[in-house]
Symmetry: D3
Subunit: 61 residues, 6 copies
């Protein structure tokens, strides 16, 4: 039952999402010995304005 939540600044193309899901799942199968059909991924694309780092919004850096 691995559940992986990726939260990322900006947007991803559909092809990027496909590759990320495939690679994260493959890592879980090979390294954590989990069946692929147990691996759930949820992707949250968030604007840079909604991230802070070092006390500033990400789009100010």
């Amino acid at each position: 039952m691995p559940y992986i939540n990726l939260r990322i600044a900006g947007e991803l193309s559909r092809e990027q999402k496909q590759k990320i899901v495939a690679e994260f799942t493959d890592t879980m199968v090979r390294i954590a010995c989990k069946p692929a059909e147990y691996v759930v991924v949820a992707i949250d694309e968030k604007p840079e304005e909604d991230w802070g780092w070092g006390g500033k919004l990400l789009d100010e850096l």
Copy 2:
């Protein structure tokens, strides 16, 4: 202080959200013995493209 985060593929109607919040809260009151006014629910509706399962995006399955 139960905090319940529901993340779901696709969209829910307002009526579905009302029933889900009512039922989750009722479960917390009856089973976990928490006062209803402590129960917070946050619902995240997410497109199928943002979910992976078994190495594929959910809308490919």
Copy 3:
């Protein structure tokens, strides 16, 4: 693909966890029309000292 994360102050017995998982899943099947085998629940029991409410720790209230 509903993923439900319950975060709760204090501890639950195994029987309480079983009932909560059964009821949350049943709510998803009846109200959100999701197959039961898609519903994932993750329960986080957290000590009252790790919760704040109204500016105080929960165990001070």
Copy 4:
């Protein structure tokens, strides 16, 4: 590596986000003794319809 996720009902202005990120980061530096450049904040603005409290949607209260 403090990661702070603020989930809030309604919307915040850009100026509010800047101040929140600045203050949360400052709290981490002063109280938790973490370097500012380790502090990550992610803000989720969510409509009132997606929150439940006491068994009702937030916009019914």
Copy 5:
């Protein structure tokens, strides 16, 4: 209904948790104009071994 989840490497004293909850709540009251009694904070102290940064575990850096 602000819900704030702080995830931090290492441990905090009870006094640190009290101050963090008080300050985060105060920020929400002053900047986001939310009543203090709506502000929920959940603190997750996690060992450095459970954090990655830049491709390494935090305790290798």
Copy 6:
């Protein structure tokens, strides 16, 4: 600023955590074009009793 939260049933060895953090970060660098030093990973190992799937606790399946 990718933040990746892996929640997994059971325990991982330190070596497994190292490899998972290294591979997730590498995926972010190659596919999402993010600098490695922006990638934060948080791993939550959770007992099977704290997971539900299909209406049952994971350790009943």
